[in-house]
């Protein structure tokens, strides 16, 4: 019987305490913000959309290797010794035409692992976090600066050069060891994937 009344007293009392707390919070300013009107300030290190500065990219494929979800796809073509691709901002000489640099941002898990191995610091995570799209295909970001014709051009040139080199090599080999036939020639592809 005693417990019965104690229980009733406790229930009423704890309800009143709870009501006091919630009532007090009626007059506490809200901690949330009205999002599209007010935007949170992101810290310096915020990791959001990936961006690649193609001027600095040397096509080393480090980021592609580091990506745990394989959202980066890079293809490169060797440049001719006569081509001048310029240098990166860190002073490194570029040796490869980057003919494909696709990031499927829909697959990206924003881990940032691609950012660290980059030798020229050209791939980085920016502060842009609003990039929703109506079409999934729009998430395939294409960073290559070369036009289609240019890509075809460098590919053709590289293939030609490769062939030339191969022919030269074969000729040299044939000259050096005329007895043994060239067993295996490297296929004339310059494209890696």
């Amino acid at each position: 019987m005693r417990k019965y009344f104690i229980d009733i007293y406790k229930s009423v009392w704890s309800v009143l305490i709870g009501m006091k707390i919630t009532f007090g919070h009626l007059f506490v300013p809200a901690v949330t913000i009205q999002y599209p009107d007010v935007k949170p300030k992101l810290p310096e290190r915020a990791r959001n959309r990936l961006y690649v500065n193609m001027d600095d990219c040397i096509g080393c494929l480090q980021c592609e290797m580091a990506c745990p979800v394989n959202c980066i796809e890079i293809a490169t073509v060797k440049s001719l010794p006569t081509d001048d691709l310029g240098t990166t901002s860190t002073g490194q000489k570029k040796k490869l035409w980057v003919t494909k640099f696709d990031i499927d941002i829909a697959k990206c898990c924003f881990c940032g692992l691609c950012v660290y191995p980059c030798p020229t610091e050209c791939i980085k995570m920016t502060e842009v976090y609003e990039f929703s799209e109506y079409d999934r295909n729009n998430f395939l970001y294409n960073f290559v600066t070369l036009t289609k014709e240019e890509i075809e051009n460098v590919k053709a040139k590289a293939a030609e050069y490769e062939k030339e080199q191969a022919a030269k090599k074969a000729a040299a080999a044939a000259q050096a060891k005329p007895a043994t036939a060239p067993t295996q020639q490297p296929p004339p592809t310059a494209q890696q994937s």
Partner: protein, 339 residues
């Protein structure tokens, strides 16, 4: 009011129709505002902002937008449902909630039907809601809905008893079942209100009535028929679009109905708290509605504070706590009156 209309129009059917529709003038905007208010109260209690965008100031037209959205939604009837009962249930629940307004005195000049068993009629007619809930839950052909309906039936039936007993305590001192009469007996300053009579027994009766009313309208901490974390949404699980809105609407209408009854029985109804100051039929409406709204707000406040009970604890509260206390109140009031 009825007399006035009859004098002007001299057509019984027309007059009855008008008096029947009159409460809707209050109910519809009330429901819209109450839903918005509930969101805002919850938001501010939780340090949030709540709806802010729709319609300028603090998102005042959010509920209207939601109404329009629900109207456009597809009306899904499950293939395995009992279609007739499924479609009928929301209307029955709404009718049960709305029918109570016929006998609620909004002001000294306006009451839908001043029947001399007013309170009895209201208690009888609000119980009809349980039929609608059972119909909806059963017809949905969903186990969660059925659970919700069964819980609701058990809950509403058992909470009728303490609430009726609490009302009985008031009826005993008033000596009448007519709500208009009960209001007239509480005229004057606020200490004439029944809640302060025979202190503290009627006050306890009011608490009992209020708790029981919370259970009857399925509000937290007694919202187990639609407990979203257990039963998904209870008996409304399978409803969508406008039918769901009807359930929602009926719930808010019911909330005001029970608050209005509490205001009438315990807080002087349309009486001004300050004697004749701001009295009269027009101000009466104001006092009545604001008393009702305060009680509705308290229901909301409780909802955003408390966890919910378990079904057996709910029964415990009804049968082992509220009912004995209500009996004690009735007996005490009776003894007091004999003295």
């Amino acid at each position: 009011m009825e007399q006035l209309l009859r004098n002007i129009f001299d057509n019984n059917i027309f007059v009855f129709t008008v008096t029947a529709i009159l409460p809707l003038i209050w109910i519809v905007p009330y429901a819209l505002v109450a839903i918005w208010l509930e969101r805002k109260i919850s938001a501010h209690m939780q340090d949030r902002l709540g709806p802010m965008r729709t319609g300028g100031w603090h998102g005042w037209s959010q509920t209207i937008a939601d109404m329009l959205k629900l109207l456009q939604k597809e009306d899904i009837v499950p293939a395995a449902a009992d279609k007739i009962l499924f479609n009928l249930a929301p209307y029955i629940i709404f009718i049960a909630a709305y029918a109570a307004y016929a006998a609620i005195p909004f002001s000294s000049a306006y009451i839908g039907a001043d029947i001399n068993v007013g309170i009895f009629y209201i208690i009888a007619v609000t119980s009809l809601a349980v039929v609608g809930i059972l119909m909806g839950g059963w017809a949905s052909n969903n186990k969660w809905s059925l659970f919700g309906a069964m819980r609701a039936a058990a809950q509403i039936v058992s909470y009728e008893i303490p609430s009726v007993l609490a009302v009985l305590a008031v009826v005993m001192i008033a000596g009448t079942l007519s709500l208009q009469e009960i209001n007239n007996l509480q005229t004057g300053w606020f200490w004439n209100w029944y809640v302060f009579q025979k202190f503290p027994f009627i006050f306890v009766a009011f608490i009992i009535y209020f708790i029981a009313a919370l259970a009857e309208v399925n509000r937290v901490p007694f919202d187990i028929p639609e407990a979203e974390s257990e039963l998904v949404a209870g008996y409304v699980t399978e409803y969508s679009g406008m039918k769901f809105a009807m359930f929602m609407f009926a719930e808010f209408v019911n909330m005001f109905a029970v608050s209005a009854i509490a205001a009438t029985l315990f807080f002087g109804g349309w009486n001004s708290p300050f004697g004749d100051f701001l009295g009269g039929p027009i101000w009466g409406v104001f006092w009545f509605l604001s008393k009702g709204m305060v009680l509705v707000s308290i229901q909301m406040w409780l909802r955003w504070t408390l966890p919910r009970l378990r079904v057996d604890q709910l029964m415990y509260v009804s049968w082992k706590v509220l009912t004995p206390f209500a009996f004690a109140c009735v007996i005490a009031v009776g003894l007091w009156m004999m003295l």
